[in-house]
Each structure stands twice: as structure tokens, then as C-alpha cells.
Amino acid sequence: MAGPERPSREPEDDRNLVDRAKQGDREAFATLVRRHQDRAFNLAYQMVRNREDALDISQEAFARAYTSLPTFKGEASFSTWLHRIVVNLAIDSLRRKRVAGTASYDDTRAVPGEPEAEPSTRDDPAIALESKQVRALLARGIAQLPPAQQAVLVLREIEGMTYEEISQAVGCSLGTVMSRLFYARRRLQQVLKMHLADLR
């Protein structure tokens, strides 16, 4: 039995767009790009902490997704699949740059020329300063994590993915996800514990 007709203004499902793109409909793929580009950029940025590299990685991820569409079977959602490509590219980029010693972190989330959005700190300057220091410490701590741990941490804590989604996005078992996440959290926790001890 046919289901109720979908209202024409409802955004088209990713799955339909992927099917159409597989048939060679470039406009369908363009819709997917426009829909997911912000999140892909943010994910890449959270990994590499450099705007130029994040732009490069997120665009490359879409290009690779397009050429790999014939092999995409739809077992995971398009966004999970795309995130996997972004994460792998970001891990490769981090490894290459760390080996070459050329990693550079600008750690600027805001659009150039615009003030950076700060998390709410109830207008208390001391809390704001404290929060900024903590963020800076964490950013440095994250940059020192092995890329694979960094990926899992970003997907869990910043992207809010479930363990299962991370497992699909990173292509490893649940146990590995949990293990990497624990080591990443513990490393950052140790960094902050020292900071908190200094404050006392």
C-alpha cells in the first residue's frame, strides 16, 4: 500500500538524493553538499583546528564521496558515511603534518572579522577568563592526542554521536571506540586536574 504523499515543501530525504545522485543527477548531489557542508567543515575543523585545512578536507571529502557513490550501499546514513571520509582525511592530514612537523593550529572558530562566540558564562569576567583558559588547555591537550583518539573524542563530545555511530564513522569496534575515548578523556582530565590543583 502506498504511504501518504509527502508534502512538497518537506526537504527530500538524503537516501533519495543519494539514489538520484547515483543515477548521475548532479543537482541531487549539490543538494547533499549544501545540506552537509557546514557540519563537515566543523567536524574537519574540530579535528585539525585550522580553517584552511578544514575547508580543504571537507571539500575533498565530498569529492571522494561523489566518486565513491557507486560503492555506497546505504547501510549507514549518508552523513555517517561522509563523516567517516572527513575523519579519515583529517587523521591522514594530522599524521602527515605531525610527521613533517608542519602542524599549525589557528584555533579560531569564528569567521574572520567577526567576534568569536563564547559559551555562556553568566557575564562573570572571572568565569569567562577561566573558561577561556580551560578551552585553551583542552585545545592544546587535544592537539597532542593521537589522531585516532582525537577523532573518537570529537565525534563523541563535540558531535554528540552515539558509540554505535562512532564505530561506523571510524570503522572500528565498539570496544576500540570506548578504549580510545577513555584514554583521550583521561589525558585531558589529567591536564585539567593539574590546572584545577593550581587554582586551589
Binding site: 557546514d38 566543523n42 569529492a63 561523489y66 566518486t67 560503492t71 578523556r185
Partner: protein
């Protein structure tokens, strides 16, 4: 569910899982009671909470409006050489060709072995010092060791014909 994993954890992992609210309710209550009576555990949990709460309130990185508007064009620029792959999947078709014609596969494999052997002998200076040409007079115009598909381009001197070898990595 994931709880079986946390149940088998040591103290450190259990505290981390507790701070992230990832323990089953009964275990969560048990750890909470422990934490209440253990100042060192409280400090551990406090620092874990700070990690999570800071990361979870990270403002997202945004592209500038210009970057966002030009994003698709940037993707398309990268696609141009491989665009045909979607309409006519070149790689699977090539694989099918070799699969359907085992003799072709054998001939290609033999040619590859001869090529590699030849290049190795040249490099080992058995056939003279290294130069970018192979003994049959065909020149190696370029070798690009890209991550996905190393490419070698050959050309006979005086000929405009180029032979391009793409060493394709098996795709899953």
C-alpha cells in the same frame, strides 16, 4: 548496549564513565555513593566533568559566507577529472573486464612483473646508470606516487602517444 563494557572496568574507567553519565542506573548510583565518600574520586570526576562540559559547549566553527557560497564550486573543481566515474563507473568496468578475461589479467600481471624487473635492474645499474628511460626506448615521462593511485606515464621518443599506467588500489 554498551553497559557490559563499563561493568568490567577498573576504577579509573568507571569514574570516567560515571562522569559521562554512561553507566547503567544501578552502577551509577553505586559509583555516586563511592564518590561522595572519596575526596580524591570527587576531584577526578570534577575534572572529567569539566572536560565534557567544556567540549560540549564548544562554539561550532563556521565558514565565512563567501566560503560557504563557493564551497560547492570547490568540490566541483576537484571532481572534474573523475566526474565520469559516476555516470560510467570506469573502475568497476575495468575490473569486470579483467575478471571476464583471465588471459588479459595474466598478460597484464606478466607485463607488470617485466616492467618492475626492468626498472629494478636499471636502478641497480645492471643496465647502466639510472636514467629516466627503459631499454626498449620508451621513456618514463613521470611517476607520481599519489596515495590512492600511483601513476606512471611512458612515451616513445618522437611519438605523441603516451601510455599511462595507473596502479589501482583494490577498493572494497
Amino acid at each position: 548496549m554498551i553497559h557490559w563494557f563499563h561493568m568490567a572496568l577498573g576504577r579509573g574507567r568507571r569514574l570516567a564513565a560515571y562522569a559521562a553519565a554512561e553507566l547503567p542506573p544501578a552502577e551509577h548510583a553505586r559509583v555516586e555513593a563511592d564518590v561522595r565518600s572519596c575526596p580524591a574520586c570527587r576531584r577526578e570526576v570534577e575534572a572529567y566533568h569539566l572536560v565534557s562540559s567544556t567540549l560540549r559547549t564548544e562554539p561550532p566553527a563556521r565558514m565565512s559566507p563567501e566560503q560557504a557560497a563557493a564551497f560547492l564550486a570547490g568540490v566541483e573543481r576537484r571532481l572534474r577529472p573523475g566526474t565520469a566515474a559516476l555516470a560510467r563507473p570506469a573502475r568497476p568496468a575495468l575490473r569486470e573486464l579483467f575478471w571476464d578475461h583471465p588471459r588479459l589479467s595474466l598478460a597484464s600481471a606478466a607485463a607488470a612483473v617485466i616492467l618492475v624487473l626492468g626498472l629494478t635492474l636499471v636502478q641497480m645499474e645492471v643496465w647502466g646508470p639510472w636514467s629516466p628511460s627503459v631499454p626498449n626506448g620508451v621513456e618514463v615521462v613521470s611517476i607520481e606516487a599519489g596515495e590512492d593511485a600511483p601513476v606512471m606515464v611512458f612515451q616513445a621518443p618522437g611519438s605523441s602517444l603516451k601510455v599511462i599506467w595507473v596502479f589501482e588500489k583494490p577498493t572494497s
